[in-house]
Symmetry: C2
């Protein structure tokens, strides 16, 4: 165990996936390290791997066990995959949460939802303001992204300065909030940066990113040319885009309607902190239904095909009194996140059935990404000129590609997926430990582990269906009545006979149990094993599936 002071970095989430960002920096001798955390985000469940789950967070166990040594949590920006878990995880972390004003407002909302103290969230000003906690001094350096007040973290430690980008793009005119400022980044980097810990999500995008400002013209033009109502969707948190869309609508002589809770919350939060001063007056959705369609522009949540969101409701038939019809237009001012393609196509097909024309980001006229593309990452490398590069936020392939990019520019990279503890002291970054990481699921009102077997059981039931076998034995272990079988999620009506599966299984299982030795029947475990095997084999013969089976053995006395 190293007794000398050193600086370490370890990701608990976000380095190995896109989503659920959670990064730790530790300083001190190994047995007395002090820690800070950057971000506490969520990821979203899917039927393939996490059915029934509400939200996914990184497993904070490593730092929760050291909560006494966690000095602070810093939230870089207000996206769910950076701030979404703060309320749920706060009880285990129990450290002050620092963020800039807009982000802090959103973080307080998360705390409130989870019944945690909102006053734990402290508002911090932008760089050069710094928060001093333990051996760290941390400043929020404004950087452009697709949500207001996004910040890189400038982390000063006795071992040197770390530049933690958070999510970012290179946008000289992001419409809301501070532009990407090369001079400022050069300035904070001029005395040398030990490590650049850098967003990797768009490393495979070859062309330089474009500015939010480039959208204003095309969107206004498009809105002017449409004969009917236009509904536009984007991420609710992309306040600059909401503003662009609304101002374009206004310029095209349209009344602005906003539908969806998430969008209303983001707009009111941005207004509250003074970031959104020129957003047009909004018209109520039901009043808008009485206006001529060509005078209406609707902003609707649900750009990813979410079933309950406003966009999906419109596609299904209507939202309040508002209905879309032939001649109307639906604009996806957004990118479809991988995994959501089918859900988005579903909505597009429903809209097509209503006769609605769809305009999407194809061609890039109506959407720009919020992340730094490959050439933008090089810009960042060139500005910061760090000694080490740690690619963060990305799947493994993104981290690897970003590391290769850094190496090609003479920067020493280290690929550090979740759990890889890297020491940043010395001439080379050094992997000093591998810690256990994982995922926690918010499931109803409880948290479960991804590896607890609970979700595995759900997937098994979904794939195999289930049988319940009910047995009643008397005190001599003789069967009272027949074995009783219930089935769920299985085809049961063979040869047109309703419940034929159960009937045939009951006959077969009754026979097997009756013919078993009394000694076996006296043993619950043996009975369970016999019934499971018999049920599985017989079901396989009858319907070609081996269902999961629950056996319930009742023993009654005369």
């Amino acid at each position: 165990m190293s007794k000398t002071d050193s600086l370490v970095y370890v990701a608990l989430g976000g380095a190995g996936e896109i989503g659920m960002n959670m990064y730790l920096y530790g300083y001190g001798p190994e047995n007395k390290r002090r820690w800070i955390m950057a971000d506490a985000g969520v990821a979203f469940p899917d039927m393939d791997s996490s059915p029934g789950v509400d939200l996914i967070t990184a497993d904070p166990a490593f730092i929760a066990e050291r909560a006494h040594a966690l000095d602070a949590i810093f939230i870089t920006h207000a996206h769910e995959d950076h701030v979404g878990a703060i309320g749920r995880l706060y009880p285990q972390l129990d450290a002050p949460v620092y963020a800039r004003e807009f982000t802090a407002e959103i973080a307080r909302g998360k705390m409130e939802e989870a019944g945690q103290p909102t006053e734990a969230v402290k508002t911090v000003g932008a760089w050069p303001e710094q928060v001093e906690v333990g051996p760290f001094k941390v400043g929020f350096l404004p950087i452009s992204h697709s949500v207001p007040e996004s910040s890189a973290l400038v982390i000063d430690t006795p071992a040197g300065r770390v530049f933690h980008t958070g999510d970012f793009k290179v946008d000289p005119d992001p419409q809301i909030g501070e532009p990407f400022d090369p001079d400022l980044i050069r300035e904070v980097s001029k005395d040398g940066v030990l490590a650049l810990v850098c967003d990797s999500t768009n490393v495979f995008s070859r062309h330089a990113g474009r500015s939010e400002a480039e959208l204003v013209g095309p969107i206004t033009e498009m809105l002017r040319s449409q004969p009917g109502m236009v509904v536009a969707t984007t991420f609710a948190s992309n306040v600059a885009r909401l503003r662009t869309l609304a101002l374009a609508g206004q310029a095209a002589g349209r009344s602005i309607v906003v539908i969806g809770r998430a969008m209303h919350r983001m707009i009111s939060t941005a207004r509250k902190v003074g970031l959104l001063t020129d957003f047009p007056d909004m018209v109520d959705v039901n009043d808008a239904a009485n206006l001529p369609a060509e005078n209406v522009m609707v902003l609707a949540s649900g750009s990813q095909g979410e079933r309950r969101a406003a966009s999906a409701q419109l596609a299904r038939g209507g939202y309040g009194k508002l209905e879309m019809k032939e001649g109307d237009t639906f604009l996806f001012s957004s990118k479809t996140i991988p995994g959501n393609e089918v859900a988005v196509a579903y909505i597009e097909n429903q809209l097509a059935m209503l006769g609605v024309d769809i305009v999407d980001h194809d061609g890039g006229l109506y959407h720009v990404s919020g992340h730094a593309n490959r050439p933008d990452l090089e810009t960042m490398h060139d500005l910061v000129k760090p000694q080490f590069l740690i690619p963060m936020h990305g799947e493994y392939r993104h981290l690897r590609e970003h590391a290769k990019l850094g190496a090609s520019k003479g920067i020493t990279p280290v690929i550090a997926p979740n759990g890889t503890m890297v020491e940043l002291t010395g001439n080379e970054p050094k992997v000093v430990d591998m810690i256990e990481t994982g995922r926690r699921y918010v499931d109803g009102s409880v948290m479960i582990g991804a590896m607890d077997g609970i979700v595995r059981d759900r997937l098994r039931m979904a794939m195999r269906g289930i049988l319940v076998v009910n047995v009643v034995l008397d005190e001599k272990s003789d069967l009272l009545g027949d074995v009783w079988v219930e089935a769920k999620g299985l085809f049961t009506d063979m040869d047109g006979q309703e419940g034929a599966l159960q009937t045939q299984l009951e006959e077969g299982l009754t026979k097997e149990l009756t013919e078993a030795k009394r000694k076996l029947r006296a043993d619950d475990e043996a009975v369970e094993k016999l019934m499971k095997q018999a049920a599985s084999n017989r079901a396989n013969r009858l319907i070609g599936k081996k269902p999961d089976t629950i056996v319930m053995i009742n023993r009654v006395e005369d």
Copy 2:
């Protein structure tokens, strides 16, 4: 009911989705129509809508009820979504199956797998050969696509000629099989085509499609430049691509290895019918493991991220003795089908962890689509100059867009999603009926209906988990012992107590049942209802979920 002869078209599958193509043409008076079918394909299940299911087919009920009037089934080409269901559905259809040689070979394989008579599949030569069945004369007109011997159907009826494209692309040099032949299409269309029934999948792709021949150069060049082993994946049925890849590999001085059952089958079928005469000799996968990596080129099945396919096995660690390592390259000579993005990314990440470089179709150098893009569809419209256009094979949005494209060129279109029966006699296509359509699932060894509730139950169990409540009552309807609860797919260890959920539910349910009136306890239905409600409410309070509940009531006599 119309007593005059008329020609009708109706899709049972494929018009409203990409996949499970099944189209019908009928001729005669309504009560005595004769029918032919074009294609009998499958679609593939997913966890979101069809967990546990093996394959999806269109519901053939409408034509199965009229099987005596079904004169023939024509298979346009050997893709799963056109031929995959023929074996499974044959018993209900019981009509001769016609296809060209390669397709017929594949179709016979499907019949064999399903235990159906392979001799029901008849091999037909290409146009101008025609099959005369009932009032129809049908010819297989060679057309380019991504599988050998793809054909359009030229369907002559007393009402006029129908040009049914099947899947196609405009490729003057498809490398294997016949090129797209504008003169031939013009020739068969010159006396007037009543209806063009036309592939719609790529109607949103703006630029003209490219030829398979364009890939040969770039792939060869890429293979020459790679320092290690190269593994390439594509659709197994894309025999021309397999040839292109193999010949490029050979030109680059590499031995050719083929792994994956589907690829071997396609190659041997293509050889058997004389379509693949210059495919290089193959090296066994385990022998290849001993060759220098730079001398090896592997063709592997599983371009869509299928978990059990050869590509996935390589990504997980190895296939036979063959392993990929740092310096090797993996080429996706394929497009990712929407819905498969996450599965493909999973493999890419596993390969990245092995240090393998990934090359994909980004930029279009190493893959071309097998379907006609928007300008290619216009080419087809211009060659055939039909009276009516019926867009087929596509989601609703594709059908609608294709119809708009046709209308813009002065052709009368009709959007006819699955179940829409269109009469093609007269000056306008006329919707004359809406018939019931749907999906059937191959589930283990049985077929189930998509709306039977079986899959809905699986999805519910996956989302909610399940409780089984076991009750034993004596002849006076008094509870013997306590209520017994089992849980699956649920968090049960509240406050660190193993099985706390079951224990607390058992206590609560026992109390409720004991306190219920004897009259209620004497009534199985009432007991079941009470137990279900109590279990649901209590589980919701304890863990925030309302599980599905199965109640089993045992009544025993003293």
